[in-house]
């Protein structure tokens, strides 16, 4: 009995939904209705600084458009997660279903990105544009047609670094210390792929996420290592570097992309001394010799509470927001027709990111763009990342044909990408 009731209700509801969907389409075409943009970034927990900075950059870009595109006002609804996938999902659902936003820009971290990608696949006529999340599988495996990402991922960020260490620094053996989870895996994979292909030897020491005491791991670094590749993020990175400094470590340092980020560099501590001279790869640096970047930084600095230089999250969110604004302009703010024109415009974009890097999308709707090799220098008493080399138009598979790249398998602790050239 109850089952029959529920089924009837469900069918009735589904019918009501269809009617409602038909009636809802009308106001969406109206040119004067506002464009509703939702965003999800991390404003709680350990990544909160990055989320705040991301919103700072987004606000700056929307303000530059006077909050209007194609004659339609922009209504920006900000939500916050805590870097947990299910919280990001709850926020995205609220934005799409309750607030009825046209598209979402976000989220910030890897697990959240994969959760929102899966959610976007269940949507019709709605779009999710990534914020700052950098897990490869958000777009590489099982991509969603409604999910677009204009920032590069963790593997891409290491392009050129392995070659630099092997060729320029002439180091034949390195030790990689990295977090034992997907984001560092992707970066280590990118590094090892180049480094080992050139005959380099790599030792790996993995530490679980949230490790705070690295003393025993530091004691295990082989003496034969010519350099130390540190792929930790945030607090883990700070803990590692401080303890490495305290233990009197002195190997040349190579950093993952978020090791040399503004959020890490603005933290004070003994690690700073050690980090001067560190070479790292990434989508951004404090100093990039590019007019587009200098202009962006100058505008960013006028925002209240800005860092001396925009963080990696601010730049990634800004790149994706720029893409959204450009595509909206191309379609003159018209999001009708299930956003088909808007999504086509996104797919076809070719523009310069805040860093001056040219961005376009591949067939998985993932960015092909430039990444930088950076060195940390003391400037005005502040450690500053300075881009000294640029690897141009790096795609998600680092130039390896996609089928071949996928055949290497997903990056993991057992698959760090260290395949010697055959």
């Amino acid at each position: 009995m109850t089952i029959r009731v529920s089924r009837r209700r469900a069918l009735q509801g589904a019918g009501a939904l269809a009617v409602a969907a038909a009636t809802l389409k009308a106001p969406a075409i109206a040119q004067n209705a506002p464009i509703r943009i939702g965003s999800v970034a991390t404003l709680e927990g350990p990544f909160a600084t990055g989320g705040q900075d991301a919103y700072r950059a987004m606000e700056m870009l929307f303000q530059a458009e006077n909050m209007t595109i194609g004659g339609r006002r922009i209504e920006w609804i900000r939500e916050s997660s805590n870097a947990q996938a299910d919280v990001a999902l709850a926020r995205a659902r609220k934005l799409i279903e309750q607030d009825n936003v046209d598209f979402i820009i976000g989220p910030l971290s890897g697990a959240e990105g994969i959760a929102l990608k899966d959610y976007s696949a269940t949507l019709n006529g709605k779009t999710i544009i990534n914020g700052g999340s950098g897990a490869a599988d958000t777009t590489l495996r099982n991509p969603s047609r409604n999910f677009f990402r204009f920032n590069t991922d963790g593997t891409q960020w290491m392009a050129g670094l392995g070659t630099y260490v092997r060729r320029t620094l002439n180091v034949s053996e390195v030790t990689v210390v990295a977090g034992d989870y997907a984001f560092p895996y992707a970066q280590v994979f990118g590094f090892s792929l180049e480094f080992c292909r050139l005959g380099g030897k790599a030792n790996y020491l993995w530490a679980p996420l949230g490790t705070t005491d690295f003393a025993s791991q530091i004691a295990q670094i082989p003496r034969s290592s010519g350099a130390l590749v540190v792929v930790h993020g945030g607090t883990d990175g700070l803990a590692f570097m401080t303890q490495y400094a305290q233990a009197g470590g002195s190997l040349p340092l190579i950093g993952g992309s978020i090791m040399a980020d503004a959020t890490m560099m603005s933290a004070r501590g003994p690690h700073r001394r050690l980090m001067v001279g560190m070479v790292s790869g990434g989508p951004v640096a404090d100093v990039i010799d590019d007019p587009q970047w200098n202009d962006f930084v100058a505008r960013y600095k006028r925002m209240p509470g800005a860092f001396p230089s925009p963080s990696i999250h601010a730049v990634n969110f800004a790149t994706n927001t720029m893409a959204a604004i450009l595509a909206l302009k191309q379609v003159n703010g018209d999001l009708s027709g299930g956003q088909a024109a808007f999504q086509r415009a996104l797919q076809g974009l070719k523009f310069k990111a805040p860093t001056g890097a040219e961005v376009s999308l591949d067939h998985n709707r993932h960015a092909i763009s430039d990444v930088f090799l950076n060195r940390i220098e003391e400037r005005n008493g502040q450690p500053t990342t300075v881009a000294f080399q640029r690897a141009t138009q790096i795609n998600q598979t680092l130039g390896v044909p996609e089928a071949q790249f996928l055949a290497l398998g997903a990056p993991s602790r057992n698959n760090p990408g260290c395949v010697a050239a055959s």
Partner: protein, 343 residues
Amino acid sequence: MIAWLQSRAGRWTAGGFAFLLVLPAILPELMPANQANFWLGNIFGRAIVFGIIAMSLTFLATYGGFVSLAQMSVAGVAGYVVAITVNGAAPSIVGGLTYVTAIPLGIVAAVLAALFVGVVSVRTRDIYLLMITLALAMGFFRFVETNIAWFNGYEGIRNVLGPTVFGLPFRDPHVIYYVSLLLAATLYGGVLYLVRSPFGLVLQGIRDNPRRIAALGYNVALHRVAAFGVAGFIAGCGGVMMTIYNIGISPGSVGLGATINVLIMSVIGGLGHPIGAFIGSLIFAFFDTFAATIYDRNRFNTLIGIVFLVIVLVSPDGVIGLAKRSYAYLKAKSAPQRWDKPT
């Protein structure tokens, strides 16, 4: 059954259930259709799903006197087992099973995990039990967060879409709503039935005086562990629903925050009756969703923390207790007026 339906509690329960059954037809009258769907799936549906998990805690607390913080982990065990074994999940860890086999497997695993918690904490109670279950919960969280081979670490396992029900995808808010409602109603009825059974009476006896029950010849430890098993079954059902609702599971779903949230739901609703879990869960879902609108989004935790604190300080039996007392107060106030009337 008939007698129960004629009692006040029975009338309320039946009325409430009938209301919830027709709610999907009422909501579109009150708000635009897309919002109605949102309220159905993501306020009420979500409240029922998490209410089931909270009810497993309320069941243990109300009838056994055990405030176990491991219930979210037990739910997580079920969710993870489904995500690990079912076809279509990404990444595929084991895979190969359909939902028809994966879901019972998940629930069995949850019951086993709950029995384990029960055995480990069998000789403790009150705050000791609270501490031990919290430590176990955090151990489970840290394990799934750091283990890649089975749990895919921090990223968790995604794309658990759920089965189709009568040809409708599980993602339809009506399906989520009705499946969780019927599941919750069945479990709720089961709990009310169980606590009147000999097992439930012994359990309540243990809560009030374990020595006397032991002296009567009952095996106290066995009853306690069995109670954890029952709660594990409830939490496991909730965990499966939660995983499908979230299209997957990741360590954040079983972390300290999630664990405490279940406690908050139970306590706000009231640790005196299983219905409190659902009331608390609904209040929580509402606050969680609309904190940005009614208060500063960034300070949501302060808001919910204050609500929680006030409830614990003012009304330890939660909203139910508050309602009961106001009812009694109003009755007491109106009663003399009747007597004042000249006869």
